[in-house]
């Protein structure tokens, strides 16, 4: 089974039918991971957010969870650091709120791990976290009823409607689901179905320099059927809800994700079917500040040159990320045809995008993150930073995580036997390990076993800075899991 981030249509139908049934079903248990589909870190790095998709519709909703990152790492170190590496895939921690009778000794309930949990629609497909005012806001595309669900976060606590903050598992109200109510839109448009990717940025980024920069964010959705949608989320009086501004159709089909180029502010959306990447621009009328004068436009598809997809009419790209370094005009594209990480030159905004290098990866490449991490010794205050920009690629079918040095174009390490690795997020680390902190790590949502796997980049960092890890192995190592691994039977 693989999470293509698009559940079979039959399941959506079932979801719809369930919505019309009088049997409410069970809510997802508090503290339980149920087909985690998306991850995000709070702007402060103190909290890890996990969106659970409820892929098998066992419960009547999906969920959004907030975990304390310090507690997570400290407790996981305590529980699994001394466990032999070969046994760590079954070693882990679990929120004490997740009461269950199938725990093994290797999985320890932990207090204070889960900070909050709310119920959202099933089949969330992505997550974006952005500052919003003095706090943060989480944006989620939800496919079951095609909406933008937004949740405010303060100190790891969610706010998405009435309900006491300590009422774990409370439901987000309808006001926090945007796009499904036609009356709420300005142009009489509805949010298209199947939102599969989300990108968020400050509205100030898309305003011309000669205009006044507004507060708030823009939110972009990519829809599977070749459409894109634009929301403005601008605080205005008592209203702080995102507003659907425009939808654009006619883009390549089977879109998978959407990412904004920080230089040009044009959004790129890979297609799992066509040999072209959609590009969408935001025209924000900052002068009038009236959303109905702002729009999305097709900035022209981008064709990758220098690769072989096996067919002139087929392509399959899944994700795109831009190099985080401002001076490096490159994009990294995760492709399944060919099965590789493509390193592309984006310095010229023309239609043909040259691919500079191709780094083969495992089967079923699914998610990608680019991060610049400091591989210097965290214990040595005197050592200058040693920055390395790395790509992290989850390969669902081969069950591993590839780590690639994007400047050398070389595979640096592989973490194997990860179950069903899908979404991932890189944590640069906090504090010194000797003082309770931890070094750089990767959190990997394991869709196949419904856990979050924590990968320690310390051994790899040691090798990259010329030191020798304790056990001589340079690849990143699995540290343990959050949750209890539960293998999924084949759906029938």
């Amino acid at each position: 089974m693989r999470p293509t981030a698009r559940p079979p249509g039959i399941l959506l139908l079932v979801a719809a039918l369930l919505g019309g049934c009088t049997n409410e079903g069970e809510p997802p248990p508090v503290g339980r991971l149920v087909f985690p589909i998306a991850l995000g870190l709070s702007p402060s790095g103190e909290h890890l957010f996990v969106a659970n998709s409820n892929f098998d519709l066992r419960y009547n909703a999906g969920s959004l969870q907030s975990y304390d990152v310090d507690v997570l790492n400290q407790e996981l170190d305590r529980a699994c650091r001394d466990v032999p590496p070969s046994e760590r895939d079954a070693c882990g921690i679990i929120p004490e709120e997740d009461v269950r009778d199938d725990l093994t000794e290797a999985i320890r309930p932990v207090q204070g791990l889960l900070v909050d949990q709310v119920r959202i629609g099933s089949f969330a497909d992505g997550m974006a976290v952005a500052p919003y005012g003095d706090a943060a806001r989480v944006y989620l595309p939800v496919r079951s009823d095609a909406n933008l669900t937004y949740v405010d976060v303060v100190g790891g606590q969610f706010d998405c409607g009435p309900g006491a903050p300590d009422e774990l598992g409370r439901r987000c109200d309808d006001a926090h689901r945007r796009g499904e109510d036609e009356a709420a839109t300005l142009r009489g448009i509805e949010l298209p179905a199947d939102p599969v990717g989300v990108a968020v940025g400050p509205l100030a980024d898309v305003v011309s320099p000669d205009r006044t920069a507004p507060e708030g964010n823009y939110v972009l959705f990519a829809h599977r059927d070749g459409r894109a949608s634009l929301f403005f989320d601008e605080p205005e009086g008592d209203s702080t809800a995102p507003v659907l501004v425009h939808t654009l159709s006619g883009l390549p089909s089977e879109l998978v994700d959407i990412t904004v180029d920080p230089r040009t502010r044009v959004a790129w959306a890979p297609s799992a079917r066509e040999p072209v990447l959609a590009r969408v621009g935001i025209a924000f009328d900052g002068a009038t500040r009236e959303p109905d004068r702002s729009f999305l436009f097709d900035a022209g598809g981008a064709y990758l040159s220098g690769i072989d997809t096996g067919s002139a009419s087929r392509g399959d790209t899944r994700l795109l990320r831009f190099d985080p370094r401002p001076e490096v005009e490159r994009a990294y594209i995760l492709a399944r045809r060919p099965r590789a990480l493509l390193i592309a030159d984006t310095s010229d905004a023309s239609a043909a995008v040259p691919v500079l290098d191709v780094v083969p990866v495992g089967f079923g490449p699914s998610r990608l993150e680019i991060a610049t991490i400091d591989v210097s010794d965290p214990e040595d205050d005197a050592s200058p930073p040693m920055l390395r920009t790395l790509a992290f690629v989850s390969c669902f079918d081969t069950r591993d995580l590839y780590v690639i040095d994007v400047d050398l174009g070389e595979l640096v390490g592989i973490v194997r036997s990860l179950g069903g690795p899908f979404e991932l997020v890189v944590d640069p680390g906090r504090g010194k390990p000797s003082e309770g902190g931890y070094g750089p790590r990767v959190y990997v949502a394991d869709f196949r076993t419904s856990v979050v796997r924590v990968v320690d980049l310390g051994p790899m960092a040691a090798c990259l800075r010329g030191a020798t890890p304790d056990d001589g192995e340079c690849s990143p190592q699995l540290l343990g899991v959050v949750g209890r691994p539960v293998a999924v039977r084949e759906l029938r």
């Binding site: 621009g281 060919p338 023309s350 050398l408």
Partner: protein, 860 residues
Amino acid sequence: MRVYLLVSLLVLGFGCRQNPTVVVPPSFERPGAVAFFCVDVGSSSIVPLAECEGLDGVSTEDRALTALVAQTASGEVASVDLRLDRIIDADLRVPGFTFKRVGEVPTAIVVNPLNPVVTYVASFGSRRVEYYDTADFREDVDRGAGLAATATPWVELPDGPTDLVLSPDGAALYAALPTLGAVAILPINPDGSLGTLDAPDDPSAYTLVPVTAPDPLPVATAARRAPFDARPVACSEGEDPRPLGVLWTGQSCVALEGCGCEGADCDALFQDAGGLAAIDRCRSAFPTYERVCPTNIELRRPTLETPTQVMPAPGTPPAPMGLELDGDTLLVLDQALPLIHRFSATSAALTPLEPFAPGVPVRDVALTPEVPRIVGGDASDVERFLYAIDATDGSVLVLDALEGSPTFGAVLPVHGGAGAPDRVRLLDRARTIEVLTPGFPGAYCDLEAPEAAAAPDRLRGVFVAAGLGNGLVEIVDVHDLDATCRGGDTNCEGPPVASDVRVFIRRHAPRIGSYVTTAAATIGTPTFSLEGNTGRLTNTGASESGGPGLEPGTCPPFFAEAFPNAAGAMPLICSVAEPWSARQERWQATWEGPIPGARSGFAHFGADDRTIELGSVRFCARGVLGRDDVAGAGLDEAEPEFGYGGDQLLVVSDPPDSKRDDPTCEPFFLDENGAREELPMEIVQSMQERVVVAEIPERVRRCYTNDDGVSVLFEVEARVRRAFAVVGTRSGFVHRVEADETGRCFIDRVGQPVIQGEPQTFRNARAFNERPYLNPWVSFTIANAGGLIRGDRSQLSFNLGNVPPALVADVGTRGQSRVSTVVTGLHYSPTDERLYAVDANADALVQFTLAPLSFEDVFE
């Protein structure tokens, strides 16, 4: 990249010719580096690799070639018996196939062909070089005394090695360490081990040789032979210039005219003599490896003034990624600096030599043997080449690699048409290259049956194979042993194959893959439409639409007639004559047509009353020019943009809804026919992100400004004005417009000068009435278009075809279908003269024969 790729007996080929049993490596995971060794089956011993040469790889033979294939994803090395076509299970105790576990991310494998009892593996992820009994990879082989047992058969290095080669005497290994910027020398102990037993971290096990760069970095130089010192004396009034002879310019032969000659080489000018024209005598003295038929085709010889040069940011450290041994010289490929470092190599030391300066960082190289300088030449006059892949863009350049040559290490001119003259014209970016030497050395036209052998797809001689990003392997001519009998005799008469009429063989040029009987020409009849009337062109150039047509004329230098090619008719459309420059594409010249890509979706009125802000659309990169940009360029009359009045800008989106009730604005809304009124604005100055126009019509300003007096956002498009926009489906809108440091667009007369007689320099996409139009690929003259006004619809359209195809092999071919590929390696086997491609996407080894070049088998 391995010199001992004789080795590339990776020859699944052996077994394949005898009832091929498909070798299916079930667990190949991201195959990478390859190495080979030979086994004496009778004695179950490992023997020198040479003992496997000349065999057919059949199961009855007493020698078995074994391939070691690194599995970069799993950190293993797989072994394949190429005699029995089977994978070797490294551990029979474990169910299924087991490969030998090595370090993480193995990047290179080395087996000494003379003393193969020990195998060395470079592991990038584990940062070490490991050593194993070669017999560990074949359990059926007697390991003999074997290496001393140890749990740590490796030497730890301070950085991950990306490549590994054996020293010339086999007594040491060299490992490339890119992050450290060094090459490590690892002495090999007498028993074949490395370092100190049980002390893998002993730093005395290796010596680091820093890879350094000269300061300042050397720049690439062009290979030139000294020009004649001869200059024409200007004529006085009333005196007519006369031919003085043919001059060698250093790059080409040029006829000199004047009223006298001054310089030390005036007497050396070539004159007609002995029935030979001066130009031919000059070209014979400065030959090019070339075989072209018919003899009256004029092709421009490649010339190079300034090689491509990339300068890294100051302080960029070296990043030695690859190694190549050339005799006693070690070449070190640098991925960060535009250098190929060179060292005099012994097992004890690496002594720096003057580096090659290719002008760019390189990612792969291939060295040819010495080859004759001319077609049919002999060993008394030879050349030698180093082909390199530019790491920045995947193009291929060539350096002079002949020791003692006056241009040793210089970059060679390889292409005579449009684009960089120092880059081989390949179909796509190259990822890997390899030299092929089937039948070399050998006799010329040593053909059992000339008709069968003198074929474009039969490779005999020296060639370069380039593995491309599009999954193809393209062949480049270096020295074709059959070139002398292609096309017939020296006068191109009596070819062995009747259809072998047009022959194009040139050193460093892509090999033409088929017999060529006709020149490039238009496909179908060109049209010149007017207001919806298609307007086929007649042989005289008139259009059946009654509107604009073409004017007959002569073709420019190095061009040939493409239309009408009819008896008694003059050329109307010409195209570049040489096949390596020609492009199969559709050309359209549109009256006041749009400039591709010059469109913005968030334009708005600027601070003053004539500026329109565009956002990040890079108008200069699209070739947009304003009136003052042209006028201020100082063009002379012969330059193609001379006299042009600048482009125009039009608004192509609806005004805001609030203006819908304003009758003034109604025409700007799209009507039911999809039309709207367009008011063009003449561009005065063009910049990357804004334009200054002559005037913004009041109606436009009114309708695209809101009630608060603030400009709304609207879409704009730049179009050619009072001219035709010429666009090719492959070549695009060719121009020589650049942006200066302020973002202002200008015509780059200095960096891209137009040279009369050199069509490849005419980078222009605007055609004018009754003025010859020329770009690097096509030429024509539009006529009878003087009556066209703004709003008229007229377009010249023609398809250019019959361009000879390149000779390629498809790595992704799978019967009737094909798969996507990532070609990561090419290996040539001189033993069975086959080419093998490693495809990391399909985890496959693909085998090709070379005579003719064709797919033979795949193992995946």
